[in-house]
């Protein structure tokens, strides 16, 4: 396990470069992101541990970052003042572009993995905006009407994007649909819907809505997404059956889940970061040989659904863990996490996995 101290800055998001296996970016904020400056770290993994290759300071807190998919030196930062900044790590100090349209804190930025010429942002102001890096204004604004903590393009289709919001809904937009009154919205799934009743099991209890803080598209199954948030549960949904409720429910985190990320290597594995100061690795029970329901139907926890389970946890952080990301390269299992303890840790998931 390698670590790096972002002294004076509390981590909010960590992302591996899609171009280099030794480069990591961390969006961080002074004073826990409540007030003060932000700093975007560009870290290099070297034989001598993690070193800061460069950093960019910003006027307001930074809550998220995303590498450009088309240019290996460019990277986005989501700022608390509502601006989105594009930095070039070959240059110093100042962003090469800044967009100021959001009325409130920007909580997520995400580059289109398929088309590579657009990116999106989501904000506390209740909107998602689609941008082109060469264009001075946003291309499209999609309203969600509630604080949107996380938005992403589908990794499988260039015009499909998703968002989770504080109103406990997972929304899917498709930009190919006409921009009628629905603003490209094609699906809106209430995340708190209990799983469908199964024969032989007590009917699931109703759960009140709660803020959804994070979500991620499965990298292999193009209709599967995972969501998580304040109610501490990780759920997976299949958007082909939006009314069916979650296909897996993974309880275990003791506090809100701040970030989840599907493995780029295995279709059933995901990683989570939580306010309970742990990162946990899970299987959603969809892979063969994993998480089969016990024959006696006596599951330990009635909330468990779908046969998934926790496979291991990393408890080295000493404050809220806010970001986690998988390394795309090399041996499958390497990942990076960051948190309010000013620590960035790079570690191997396989080292914490139980039998």
């Amino acid at each position: 396990m390698l670590d790096f101290r972002t002294q004076g800055y509390n981590g909010y998001s960590v992302k591996y470069s899609p171009f280099f296996d030794s480069r990591i970016a961390v969006a961080s904020s002074a004073n826990f992101g409540l007030v003060g400056n932000g700093r975007l770290y560009i870290l290099g993994l070297t034989a001598n541990g993690i070193v800061a290759e460069k950093w960019f300071d910003t006027q307001d807190s930074l809550f998220d970052t995303a590498w450009s998919e088309s240019h290996e030196n460019q990277i986005l930062a989501a700022s608390g003042d509502g601006s989105i900044k594009l930095f070039d790590i070959a240059l110093n100090e100042f962003p090469i572009q800044s967009w100021q349209e959001h009325a409130r804190e920007v909580f997520s930025v995400h580059w289109n993995l398929v088309a590579k010429d657009t990116f999106l942002s989501s904000s506390w102001d209740g909107t998602i905006k689609i941008w082109n890096p060469t264009h001075p204004t946003s291309l499209t604004t999609l309203p969600t009407h509630s604080c949107t903590y996380s938005a992403q393009f589908s990794p499988h289709a260039p015009t499909v994007l998703s968002a989770v919001t504080s109103d406990s809904h997972l929304r899917i937009f498709d930009l190919r649909t006409p921009a009628s009154a629905s603003n490209h919205l094609t699906l809106s799934i209430p995340i708190h819907t209990p799983p469908k009743a199964r024969p032989g099991h007590a009917p699931p209890v109703g759960i009140p809505p709660s803020e959804a803080l994070t979500h991620d598209w499965n990298k292999y199954r193009d209709s599967v997404l995972a969501t998580a948030g304040v109610d501490r549960l990780i759920r997976t949904f299949d958007i082909r059956a939006p009314g069916a409720g979650p296909i897996a429910v993974l309880p275990g985190h003791e506090y809100a889940v701040r970030k989840i990320s599907w493995s780029p290597h295995l279709s059933d594995i995901l990683l989570s970061a939580s306010y309970d100061m742990t990162c946990r690795v899970w299987t959603d029970g969809s892979a063969m040989g994993h998480g089969k329901e016990d024959g006696n139907m006596m599951q330990q926890d009635p909330m468990v659904f779908g046969g998934g389970r926790e496979m291991g946890r990393m408890g080295r952080h000493t404050e809220f863990v806010t970001g986690v990301d998988w390394c795309l390269f090399g041996a499958e299992g390497w990942c990076a996490s960051c948190g309010w303890d000013e620590k960035v840790m790079v570690w191997d998931v396989r080292a914490i996995m139980g039998p």
């Binding site: 826990f32 992101g33 409540l34 007030v35 006027q59 807190s61 608390g80 003042d81 804190e105 604080c147 007590a202 009917p203 209890v205 109703g206 759960i207 009140p208 709660s210 803020e211 803080l213 304040v230 109610d231 501490r232 003791e254 506090y255 809100a256 701040r258 306010y275």
Partner: protein, 429 residues
């Protein structure tokens, strides 16, 4: 850019956002008292709960009344009081302990005689002293799973007519040769005496607890606190002195005695051991009585315009060693509370059956309950413990008292012969 004041406000908002993330997680969303008090259409609610009076076994007003007739009385009162169309009742569960054959035949007959059509099913069940509660829980669960929409949980016992040695079958050699199995037939009094001794519950404490039960019941009777839950029943009664058969209306628990104090109880000779501590005054009375609880989903109750008086939330059942059967509530209550996410202090009233003062007192102390919250109108020591009836009886006793005092959350619980405990959480509305 925002000025300093704007910054301060923004920081405040960001802080409250993060604390909201944590607050909601801490509150354990689907659980806890607040969640319990929420109303949902699929709640299992009680729209009527009543009981007959409880009378002394062999001497009281019901001494010549068969169990099925008591049950018939509870059923007819339930139908008239709730105004429910009897043909809507899909199933009736009746808890009873002593009836030969479980009472299955005569209870079905009693339901038909009471005005339920042939389409209303009836079963009897026996989980010893918790049979009445088990009946309510069975019906609630059947409604929850969608097997039925409306049902009645009931309990009845005529200890006058059915109490006696024939209630237990001879143990086979196989059972006798297994130590824990053989313990199942040790008489309640004997094992409770042993338990009182091993758990060190002094006789003085037991007598004080028992006297308090009598005093609370006397007070409650004076104030008429039982009037709402008791359905008066007119029965035949043979006067033991004149052998004259009379028709009387029983609307009062006749086991409640005035003027009982710890001192007066202190003079009674122990019943089960010479140096023992348990006697007729600090154990539950042998009694007759019946009780019935009408259960359905909230959505059904609203559709039928039935008055909702309470809600069934959760039940638990646990096993304990047969010789320590009295600790049952101490084992079952924490399980029921854990399942509902309640703390013991979130509960406003505990109805814990007073099988013996010793075991009830032990459970209260073991759980660290506030004794003022336990059995506020007295318990089985004061007005009796008709075995199969008690569990259903506690529901009406609890819900009327919660409503009268403006409180919300209650627990009913009892120990169970052969070593078990059962508990259920109820909410008054």
């Amino acid at each position: 850019m925002a000025n300093q004041t704007g910054r301060g406000l923004q920081a405040q908002e960001r802080l409250s956002q993060v604390s909201d993330h944590l607050k909601a997680s801490k509150a354990d969303i689907p659980r806890g008292r607040d969640a319990l008090l929420e109303k949902h259409p699929d709640d299992i609610v009680v729209t009527c709960a009543l009981r007959t009076a409880i009378t002394k076994g062999g001497k009281g007003g019901f001494k010549d009344t068969q169990a099925a007739d008591l049950l018939h009385g509870a059923f007819t009162s339930l139908i008239s009081r709730s105004g429910i169309d009897p043909s809507l009742i899909e199933d009736i569960a009746v808890g009873t302990v002593l009836a030969p054959g479980g009472g299955a035949t005569e209870f079905r007959a009693a339901a038909l005689a009471a005005g339920f059509p042939v389409t209303s099913a009836v079963k009897s069940l026996n989980r010893q002293c918790s049979s009445g509660l088990q009946a309510c829980v069975d019906i609630a669960n059947a409604i929850k799973t969608g097997m039925i929409d409306i049902g009645i949980g009931a309990g009845v016992e005529s200890m006058s007519t059915q109490y006696g040695p024939q209630a237990v079958t001879e143990f086979s050699h196989l059972l006798e040769s297994h130590a824990e199995a053989a313990n199942c037939k040790v008489p309640m009094g004997v094992l409770s005496e042993k338990m009182a001794k091993s758990k060190k519950i002094p006789r003085a404490d037991q007598d004080a607890f028992a006297a308090n039960s009598f005093q609370k019941a006397v007070e409650a009777q004076k104030k008429g606190l039982f009037d709402e839950e008791i359905a008066p029943l007119t029965v035949k009664y043979t006067d033991p002195k004149t052998d004259e058969e009379k028709t009387i209306t029983v609307s009062r628990d006749d086991g409640v005695r005035q003027g009982i104090t710890a001192e007066s109880l202190g003079k009674i000779r122990p019943a089960f051991a010479k140096d023992g501590s348990i006697h007729a005054g600090n154990a539950s009375q042998i009694s007759d009585g019946a009780a019935a609880v009408l259960l359905m989903k909230r959505s059904t109750a609203l559709r039928l315009k039935q008055p909702i008086i309470g809600k069934f939330v959760q039940a638990s059942v646990v096993g304990v060693p047969p010789l320590l059967m009295g600790v049952g509530p101490a084992a079952a209550i924490p399980v029921a509370l854990k399942k509902t996410g309640l703390d013991k202090d979130d509960v406003d009233i505990y109805e814990i059956n007073e099988a013996f003062a010793s075991q009830c007192l032990y459970c209260i102390n073991e759980l660290g309950l506030d004794i003022n919250k336990v059995n506020p109108k007295g318990g089985a020591i004061a007005f009796g413990h008709p075995l199969g009836c008690t569990g259903a009886r506690q529901v009406s006793t609890l819900l009327t008292e919660l409503r009268r005092t403006g409180k919300r959350v209650g627990v009913t619980s009892m120990c169970i012969g052969t070593g078990m405990g059962m508990a259920a959480v109820w909410v008054s509305e």
